[in-house]
Symmetry: C2
Amino acid sequence: MENRTHTADVAAGETATVAGWVHEIRDLGGIAFLILRDRTGKLQIKFEKDEMDEDLVETGLDVHRESVVTVTGAVEEEPRAPTGLEMVPDSLDVLAGADPELPLDPSGKVDAELPTRLDNRTLDLRKPEVKAIFEIRSEILRSVREYFRSVGSTEINTPKIVATGTEGGTELFPITYFGQEAFMNQSPQLFKQLMVGSGLERVFEIGPIFRAEEHNTPRHLNEATMIDFESAFVDHHEAMDVCEGTLKAAYEGVAENCAEELELLGYDDFAVPEDDFPRLTYEEAIERVNATGELDEQLVWGDDLPTEAEKALGSDVGGHYFITDWPSEIKPFYIQDYDDDPQLSKGFDLMHPRMELVSGGQREHRYDELVAGFEQQGLDPEQFDYYTRMFRYGMPPHAGWAYGVERLVMTMLDLDNIREAVLFPRDRQRLSP
Amino acid sequence: MENRTHTADVAAGETATVAGWVHEIRDLGGIAFLILRDRTGKLQIKFEKDEMDEDLVETGLDVHRESVVTVTGAVEEEPRAPTGLEMVPDSLDVLAGADPELPLDPSGKVDAELPTRLDNRTLDLRKPEVKAIFEIRSEILRSVREYFRSVGSTEINTPKIVATGTEGGTELFPITYFGQEAFMNQSPQLFKQLMVGSGLERVFEIGPIFRAEEHNTPRHLNEATMIDFESAFVDHHEAMDVCEGTLKAAYEGVAENCAEELELLGYDDFAVPEDDFPRLTYEEAIERVNATGELDEQLVWGDDLPTEAEKALGSDVGGHYFITDWPSEIKPFYIQDYDDDPQLSKGFDLMHPRMELVSGGQREHRYDELVAGFEQQGLDPEQFDYYTRMFRYGMPPHAGWAYGVERLVMTMLDLDNIREAVLFPRDRQRLSP
């Protein structure tokens, strides 16, 4: 098997062995074609019934669609074949037969609803345009990590089983951990902060987070992959610079390395964001939302932005933008407030015109203020002693942010549902596969 | 803060701003030195008491060790300084004061036991030789991913919340998932197999796994980071080639990019494994173990290798090696057996002289044989229908493997305890921080 050639690499005049799935069989009578598909593309295999071994013809043409076969034969030029090449088989082996009835049609000729697709992801990902989403996702992760390294960040892995959650408000999934109560972590927030106070100074993590929120929307998941960044000795505006750089690096990576996938998905106008993202203060943002006249009720200072407001503002701005200087009350306790105006926090969000992508901010690094923040949030600082204690041993000023990979994929590729951006989504209804 | 210069980058004749931790203060009377430490190294700050502003001297010399400060001043050559440079401060700000008493001494002058270190990881990682371990770990992840991409693998993320575990024998942590019983996944095994049957064909994942095993040893964790690889159209020997390539890529990456860290850790003889790793069959392995005479009791065919056997064989072979062709009974149901000898499986392990690193094998891709395997293992195939069903729709022959990042770091750096290779270990006793 190691000697197989990908269909994209076969050349006329050579004998090759290819392996893949039976995409289609077209029987025209005296001549028939088997279209073999592998991850790189397709190849037409020609059966001239009268001129070939009967067993070979029978095996090749009786096989069910989506069976796995390997074929050895001469590759010839054939202008009428979709790739300009076809193979005349010397031998064909069925490595794994497929049932005649499939729950999903990988050729895409029969549409399937999302739940059916998710139940049958193996078959669903045989559709090149579905596979393309996950090749792009993989490239996003690669280019984001490369960018992180270019700005001197160290990759870390923090625990997903924790004794206490990061925030009070968000729901946690409880675990039984050797007889103790524990939880699945909803964010690496506290751990990455502990690491910027260590010798590492600047860290990133890409890993799963778990949120027991009872959402049921096209843009929420109960398990997601989070891109986390945190750095000592930067403020929130410098953290925004890195955030913007990361996002642009993801778009650039995809533009450079996923041309085929973008074409398959029909993006002939895929654009890497070039300009600096506008940074609106929260106050400017609500004024601008109100000015659009899209909302039934005007926003007042202190309101969180409802979905309609995000949409109105997004179409008004027309691209990615930041909202800065949020009311302290809306932001978590670990975000630092302005000393000269404690009602205002140094929290920020990065927005895509469709939705919020990133949440971040300058963090509170002063022990007394941090502990007071826990109490204001209704959390018991004692429970977080492992975290707060380190702030008494020299915790530098720091800032950071996090965004969900799925929302990045979803907004980049304009997908309708976030579940299209994750292989095996987890939501209130879906726990399997 | 954005204008700070790392201590490694300051140059004589310039005025610079540096920021970091107060590593040490040496007061010699008329002259005193503050040693500032950041992630790149250290810098000596000179205080000539009679010639400098009194407030500046007081602030600089009264600050507690491990406080965070920023200093601006002229950098001068000073042959007696450890780096050949020193700074004469114009200004010094204390960004975060540290308590006078620390639970751990980051200068390393006072030894600390591992539990104390793990309770105070923030301080522990200020020791350059501890930080070095995690810089190396980060580089291992980078070079492993780069290698995976060079052999055409797509990065995937599979769910950590699952309805059923991968294997019967290994213990699972139960979760309450919106009123349903669920578990934290002990391995991406089944999901990565589902993906090689999709259009992706060859995939990798680096992510957390969770095992509720009641181990209490220096080489087991209850949460670990796993490197998983799986590929369609390869057999177990080809999967071993990729495994060997991945491991060598990790060593090469570290050798090339972590010279300073290796030096800090005292490895002047860090060697990248060059030769092909020997591939012993299980039968050869037990014969060789028995021949060492190290074991009280001779091994017989069918025995698993106890720790002493691994050690005896490891020191006999003297480097990494594979053990292939294990008895089917010892290996999980999803490993394929040899058709001509069903007692023998196509499972393999990659061994470091100290311990097992990798478990892998050719997988059973035939539906009927797979379902029979579930039953032999005492598992109900119905419960795994989401997985087995896909084997009826054209599942190619495939093979793969997994290894733990922590064991790789531990063996590469010759660490005594696996807990030294993970920032925040999870074991039966340790759930926090």
